[in-house]
Amino acid sequence: MQPSYSRFFFRLLTLAPLLFSCSVHAAELTVNVTDAAGSPLPDAVVYAEPTGKAPVTAIATAAIEQKNRQFYPLVSVIQTGASVTFPNRDKVKHHVYSFSPAKTFELKLYSGIPSTPVIFDKAGTVVLGCNIHDQMLAFIRVVDTPYFALSDSTGKATISNLPNGPYTLKTWHYAQSNENTVAEKSLTIKADEQAAVKLDINTSALQKR
């Protein structure tokens, strides 16, 4: 399990030089996400939408594993149109579903990796569940931009290779008091930029892993 997990990151890293090569004037945006009290907030989805037309880039794929009757990772962010695989690492079968309007689907009882990945072609939030195991829960935020990142345990999210230009910086968290709110911030990238976002969090909705 450990090797395959590291391979996923490796693939993300191999993608980065490719992006850099496409834009000469590229910067890095670091966003510190905190809750209302100022505590660092992990698992926040930070994405920057260009004010103008979005550049066409290759859409990365993603995988959400089921292990120990849990989804990993809890929160995923993908670009609209991206396909996601659901590899089952458990010995038991799972029945993954979503009734979310952004993507309604179900993968009926299966083991291993389903032959066809699920393509998320509509921006929004997809809540994943398993019909067998009620406690299994995961979130996928489908965004219309290739520039996105997840905040780490220190609440820091870094979007790299961000071409200069005006953007709308949006931040979303699954445990926001109002789940449909998205924190928006306009900013223009000229060089490496720092930004801070404060979110109103319903702590009872925070998933503890």
Partner: protein
């Protein structure tokens, strides 16, 4: 009931005690039952409340289970996701009927849309559902009660997750009769639900009670919350469980238990106990009665026995086999009765029997005499009493000793006993040497015959201690109806006659009223005699005593006559025994002595030398003052001592020989010549005779009168004369009635003589003339 008796008193005390204990016990148990049954009712109500709350919880659980099943149904969630209300509603009603819920609702989180399956309007449901969901968001589950359209419901809300909450399912049971019945089945309690809402009054929703009782309960519960009250003739323990209370909406469950019903099994117990109590008291009463009877009956018996004892009935046998105190008492009482009986017997014997002779005693004789007298009076029969007294018993006693005297009395008793004619004749010892004989149906003549027969029988000497003792007795005879009609009087008369008989030495004497100095006739005799002494009616007679050899008058014997003014001359036989009896003899003796002294002095003046012999009686001899009186008498008359001599009969000395001897010695010392009269009739021993200071013996005339014909009399006279002479005494013979006897006596050496042949007694005054005549032939 007689509370006076020990038995009933014991019974009453113990019965009262046991009844008090039983009643106290009964009341205590009754109180305890009451208390316990109430406590039991309370406990049942408490348990009922718990059961009820548990039942509500179970209902809630089953509601939430059902709701959760629906919430996790994939199709249902798909329907929600696809906002397909038709499908949602049908799924709700389907599930509602599956778990038997009365209401099922779904509220979508996304749209707030409320889908309802059941008879509830949106308007009513919405606020309650919203509030329920709000509660449920905390715990993921909510439960509450609500009143829809005046009907109470138990509601449960569970979330529908996909996997986040996408809506809430609300399911509910109506609180109705079914629930009440279920609770009744589980807890055996009566259950009534009452509620109020929107300012309306209390109304009952459901009840296990009848309609009318429910109405009554509603009345009571609306105003107060009493935990115990009665409805429809029964007491109910009541518990109020508030199910819901918010705002003006209330829902209360009233749990009830009939106290009477709870007490019912105890009542059976109580009735049995009462029955046992009564039965126990009866058994106890019976036992008490029996026991107290067992205790008191012997006491009653003892009391009866004591009463019989008091009446003198000793024929009582008390024997108890009881081992207890009463048995001991009974036995002790029995032996006491025996002891008293034997003592009474010996007292009776002492009282009525003479120990020495075994004859009835005086008291016994009097008693028998009384009975016989009564019979004689009733049958008009005669009855006689003999009283016998041994002659000279004192002397016999003295000479032979006490033991021999007792033996003699026994011998006499036997002789008398063997002499009686028939069974009805009764011999008794009156005391000392005095005996009595009761002769029923016996006339005076026959009684005298019996008396003489007895005298004859007693002529045979009695043998005691190898000696033969001659005995004689004086017998007095008195008869009914001639002499007395009471037993004391009759016996007294016989005794009087006996004294006369002894005094006169005349064997048997029949009572004569003259004997009785206390009788009316004798009282007048006594006063007449006293009058005679004082009034000089007594006369001194004399009989000359001559020298048988020379024929000269040597002396005279003084004799007494009573010249009664009406009756004429009375001989001493007619009044001397009475004078001896009454003690008047001493006056007569003194008169005689005084008269003799006066006559003697007169004769001396005439030149007549004839000492006068005066007879002394027993009473005179025991008078210690007699010598002084005689001395004074001589002085008064001016007579020298020797002018008067004294004659004493043998028997007169025998009553008190010692005293008599003492008196005689003093008289003799004074110089008075003494002679023994009637010698040969008494029992004086020669030794006694020898000691007496006498100078003369007078042979009794009974020997002299027949001495001419009777050889033995002649021998007695001769030996008496010899005896007298040997004792240095002069001998005088009385009763000389012929010259032949005179000559015979003279030839025998007899010194003096007197008798009719010489002269009859004559008045003292005639003596000088007689002496003149007597001396003439002598002189011639």
């Amino acid at each position: 009931m007689q509370f006076k008796s020990l038995q009933s008193r014991m019974a009453v005390i113990f019965l009262t005690l046991i009844l008090a204990i039983q009643i106290a016990g009964f009341l205590a148990i009754k109180y305890s039952i009451n208390k316990n049954s109430r406590a039991a009712v309370n406990e049942q109500l408490e348990i009922g409340e718990r059961v009820f709350l548990n039942l509500l919880k179970q209902n809630g659980d089953s509601l939430s289970q059902g709701a959760k099943i629906l919430a996790s149904d994939y199709g249902f969630r798909q329907a929600i996701a696809s906002v397909d209300y038709e499908t949602i509603l049908s799924a709700l009603s389907n599930h509602q009927s599956r778990i038997g819920a009365d209401i099922a609702m779904f509220e979508s989180s996304a749209t707030g849309n409320l889908t309802i399956s059941g008879k509830v309007s949106h308007l009513e449901a919405s606020p309650i559902v919203d509030k329920l969901i709000q509660d449920g968001q905390q715990n993921g589950y909510a439960q509450s009660f609500a009143i829809f359209n005046h009907q109470p419901y138990q509601l449960v809300a569970v979330p529908v997750k996909a996997p986040l909450t996408i809506g809430w399912i609300i399911m509910g049971f109506q609180i109705d009769d079914t629930l009440a019945q279920n609770l009744h089945k589980l807890s055996n309690l009566d259950v009534t639900f009452i509620s109020r809402s929107n300012g309306s009054g209390w109304s009952s929703m459901a009840s296990t009670l009848s309609m009318s009782l429910t109405e009554k309960l509603l009345d009571k519960a609306s105003t107060s919350r009493l935990t115990e009250f009665s409805m429809g003739n029964a007491d109910y323990g009541t518990r109020y469980v508030s199910i819901m209370e918010h705002g003006d909406e209330s829902l209360v469950a009233i749990l009830q238990r009939s106290i009477d019903e709870a007490t019912a099994p105890y009542l059976v117990l109580q009735r049995n106990l009462l029955l046992l109590t009564i039965l126990g008291a009866l058994v106890f009463a019976f036992v008490i009665f029996y026991v107290s009877r067992r205790i008191s009956q012997p006491i009653t018996e003892l009391a009866d026995t004591a009463r019989k004892l008091e009446e003198g009935n000793f024929a009582i046998r008390l024997s108890s086999t009881r081992e207890d105190e009463l048995g001991k008492l009974s036995r002790a009482f029995g032996s006491m009765v025996d002891a008293i009986a034997s003592r009474e017997q010996s007292i009776t014997r002492l009282a009525y029997w003479d120990e020495l002779t075994g004859l009835p005693n005086r008291a016994s004789f009097l008693r028998e005499l009384g009975i016989a007298l009564q019979q004689a009076q009733d049958q008009h029969e005669h009855l006689s009493v003999l009283v016998m007294n041994l002659n000279h018993f004192k002397q016999i006693n003295k000479v032979l000793g006490h033991t021999a005297a007792d033996d003699l009395l026994k011998g006499v008793a036997q002789r008398l006993q063997s002499s009686i004619r028939q069974e009805s004749d009764l011999v008794a010892r009156l005391g000392g040497d005095e005996f009595a004989l009761l002769l029923p149906k016996t006339s005076v003549e026959n009684a005298m015959r019996v008396a003489n027969m007895l005298l004859q029988k007693l002529e045979t000497p009695i043998s005691i201690a190898d000696q033969s003792v001659d005995i004689s007795m004086g017998i007095g005879v008195a008869s009914y109806p001639q002499h007395a009609s009471s037993q004391e009087k009759l016996l007294g008369n016989a005794e009087m006659a006996m004294h006369i008989a002894k005094a006169k030495q005349s064997g048997a004497v029949l009572f004569d009223p003259s004997f009785d100095i206390s009788s009316q006739g004798n009282l007048s005799l006594a006063s007449e005699l006293r009058q005679a002494i004082a009034g000089n009616e007594l006369a001194l007679y004399v009989q000359p005593k001559i020298d048988l050899q020379s024929g000269k008058v040597s002396a005279v014997e003084a004799l007494i006559r009573w010249k009664h003014p009406q009756k004429g001359l009375i001989f001493p036989d007619a009044f001397i025994p009475f004078a001896e009896q009454s003690g008047m003899i001493q006056l007569i003796s003194l008169w005689m002595l005084a008269e003799a002294a006066r006559v003697e002095v007169a004769w001396r003046q005439l030149g007549i030398e004839a000492p006068m012999a005066v007879n002394l009686s027993t009473r005179d001899l025991i008078d210690q003052d007699l010598p002084n009186k005689i001395l004074a008498l001589h002085d008064a008359a001016g007579l020298a001592l020797g002018g008067i001599t004294l004659e004493i009969t043998e028997s007169s000395m025998m009553d008190d020989p010692q005293r008599a001897q003492h008196t005689l010695e003093r008289l003799s010392d004074m110089g008075l010549p003494l002679s023994i009269d009637d010698f040969g009739t008494g029992y004086s021993s020669l030794a006694y005779l020898k000691r007496l200071p006498v100078s003369e013996l007078k042979i009794d005339k009974s020997f002299v009168l027949k001495m001419e014909e009777d050889e033995s009399d002649r021998k007695i006279v001769r030996s008496t004369i010899d005896l007298g002479h040997n004792l240095n005494l002069k001998v005088v013979a009385e009763g000389i009635e012929s010259r032949a006897v005179w000559d015979l006596l003279a030839s025998m050496g007899c010194d003096f003589g007197q008798g009719y042949h010489i002269s009859k007694p004559m008045p003292a005054a005639d003596f000088p003339a007689w002496l003149q005549r007597w001396q003439e032939p002598q002189a011639a």
